[in-house]
Symmetry: C2
Subunit: 367 residues, 2 copies
């Protein structure tokens, strides 16, 4: 009896996963974290309206969700000033990235992203056999010019930019991003990941031109809306591209409860504004905690703050380990020189108190 007859491609894939979740770490540690500040979740929670809608929908969980997410797509389209045919709802940005890569990337096809940008995008590209080409960050920013130049050089199917950026928290103004769109080579699609856009200053997102075939934008209910666990993301793009998702996606893949929660959250902009204010205050607090420890907090347009530990990757990894020992869950960039930093999610006062208490010891131990 032989083992599974995987395809050659799948047999060649590593068993590594893009992220180890905090629950997995807690089981390995044998005790829970006191501060959950590593996954850029919204510790301020979902809108009470979203919670109420999900609690109501839980009773009707015996029904499959609407396979077209019609009402949610219609509401998003109205909000964005586009047609429903320009919007696709999926199982988080992660799910949509998987479908997008599958639609466009055949084995060997070139794809361009930044070294140190979103690992789950790379996971999907590798998973469909794409050839990843990595462009270094320019300082702590993704480098639009470098990305476009490489995309042109290799004839990329996709070129990825996150704005604001994860894991550094940096951002480019809308004009710079729009200039990148204008420069996208023929035959390349720009993937503009705007997961954190609600936290960014006005003028960070270029105006949406839904018929522009050069770019697809990805947004999510996981961050500002506080619905990471519900798994609702959406893509905005030209209708022929958006229609392509229907050829490959899991049509009945959306949780009905999540659809209801996202729709209700969309109807509560006041909650988003409140969360935005709390996140801004938390960023300031994290900055103050960093400074009190002699560290530099990088500017952030997201719901996290990336803190330069002032050394190399080994030092930052030791700080991260020291924080974990002190029951604080944070993450860090995976690639030098970004990995001199740790990345701390915004959270309420009591969570940041735990951080403030733990950081000096973690730093001392790391040094």
């Amino acid at each position: 009896m032989t083992g599974p007859r995987f395809t050659d491609l799948v047999a060649s894939l590593p068993a590594t996963v893009p992220f180890v979740g905090p629950e997995t770490q807690e089981r390995a540690r044998g005790r829970p974290f006191r501060a959950r500040l590593g996954a850029n979740e919204s510790l301020f929670g979902p809108s009470p309206r979203a919670v109420a809608a999900m609690q109501e929908a839980a009773r009707e969980a015996w029904k499959y969700g609407d396979s077209t997410s019609h009402d949610l797509r219609a509401a998003l389209a109205a909000d964005l000033g586009v047609a429903p045919g320009n919007v696709m709802v999926g199982e988080g940005i992660d799910g949509l990235l998987g479908y997008l890569v599958r639609m466009l990337v055949a084995p060997g096809d070139p794809v361009v992203t930044s070294a140190g940008a979103y690992p789950t995008f790379n996971y999907h590209v590798a998973g469909f056999g794409g050839a990843l080409h990595l462009v270094p960050f320019a300082g702590d920013h993704e480098d639009p010019d470098g990305l476009i130049a490489r995309a042109r050089e290799v004839g990329a199917k996709l070129v990825y930019l996150s704005n604001p950026n994860n894991p550094m928290g940096s951002w480019h103004p809308a004009a710079r991003v729009q200039a990148m769109v204008e420069a996208v080579p023929e035959g390349t699609l720009m993937v503009l990941d705007e997961a954190y856009i609600e936290f960014a200053p006005t003028g960070t997102a270029p105006p949406i031109d839904p018929d522009d075939p050069r770019v697809i934008r990805l947004r999510t209910f996981s961050k500002a809306h506080g619905l990471a666990g519900a798994r609702v993301g959406y893509a905005i793009g030209a209708a022929p591209l958006i229609a392509g998702f229907d050829k490959v996606r899991n049509h009945f893949g959306m949780c009905r409860i999540s659809q209801a929660g996202a729709l209700a959250s969309l109807g509560d902009p006041a909650w988003l504004a409140e969360v935005g204010a709390q996140v801004a205050a938390a960023r300031d607090r994290i900055g103050a905690i960093a400074r009190a420890n002699g560290l530099v907090a990088l500017p952030s347009a997201t719901n996290f703050v990336t803190v330069d530990c002032g050394g190399d990757g080994a030092l930052a990894r030791a700080v991260l380990a020291g924080l974990a020992e002190r029951d604080v869950f944070v993450r860090m960039p995976g690639v030098a020189p970004l990995d001199r930093c740790i990345r701390i999610s915004a959270g309420p006062e009591d969570q940041l108190d735990v951080l403030a208490e733990a950081l000096p010891g973690a730093l001392a131990a790391a040094r």
Copy 2:
């Protein structure tokens, strides 16, 4: 400016979808159905314990779900008498089928199933470029011998059997299914879809040998557990095969609320027994309604009854249309000669009253 540069495979795929959801039909009709009896959902609803767990989890929806579904997998494994490494949780059987096909089926690889069996399996096979080989039903049953013979002949990567069967409601006893497993050719994996197994007579499921590399079994919380909208399915198989899912799946794809609901439902076997009794009563009632209209209800080991309309596919399609006009949502098999039937989900008395009221008129109009 050109259109999207899809892969050759994706460009070749049709835009058709496996199923049109009832909400989509309602929007097209301009009015809701009065009886929702087409999607084999559990109209008896989820366990109250599952509802309570989901309502509680809704408050914590800001957290990503556990990417390994550890607790749910552990509980399933304990229930099934296997190791957690023999169980994979995914976004419904549909989601797991997509991952499974992706793991094993490269473009051109042969796959065997029954003509008229689950369309979403075929959708995934086509979506990854597999070559589908269809074996006719033997009467109203899938034909294990025919499936195995064809799998051997074409060197199939996968051979699919649902037991009990959808859309006919028929089933084979465990010994017959186990004999099929024993006959699986070297290099072929049998996909045993047991979505409806909880409704089947004792002795329908072969004992689980988790280390048998010849078969992967798929089960779900969508049917007996009444959690179709939550999207939780699971696969049971040999550890090397189950580990393969981690190379391709959307690791953070599971809804946290759904994980909680499924786990709670697993802890409420009394609810499952209650639903089973209600489904049995509803099957009897659907049989009586069919007989009262001069139709033959096929035996069923599922939560639906397939009713022979006594003519050809055109007649059954007309009956289905007549029922829809009368606000009753049902579905029907897609392939002759199975398509002489319509398929009616079990439901509570008031829903079946609507069916009883509508069927005579729908039949008269169809004739």
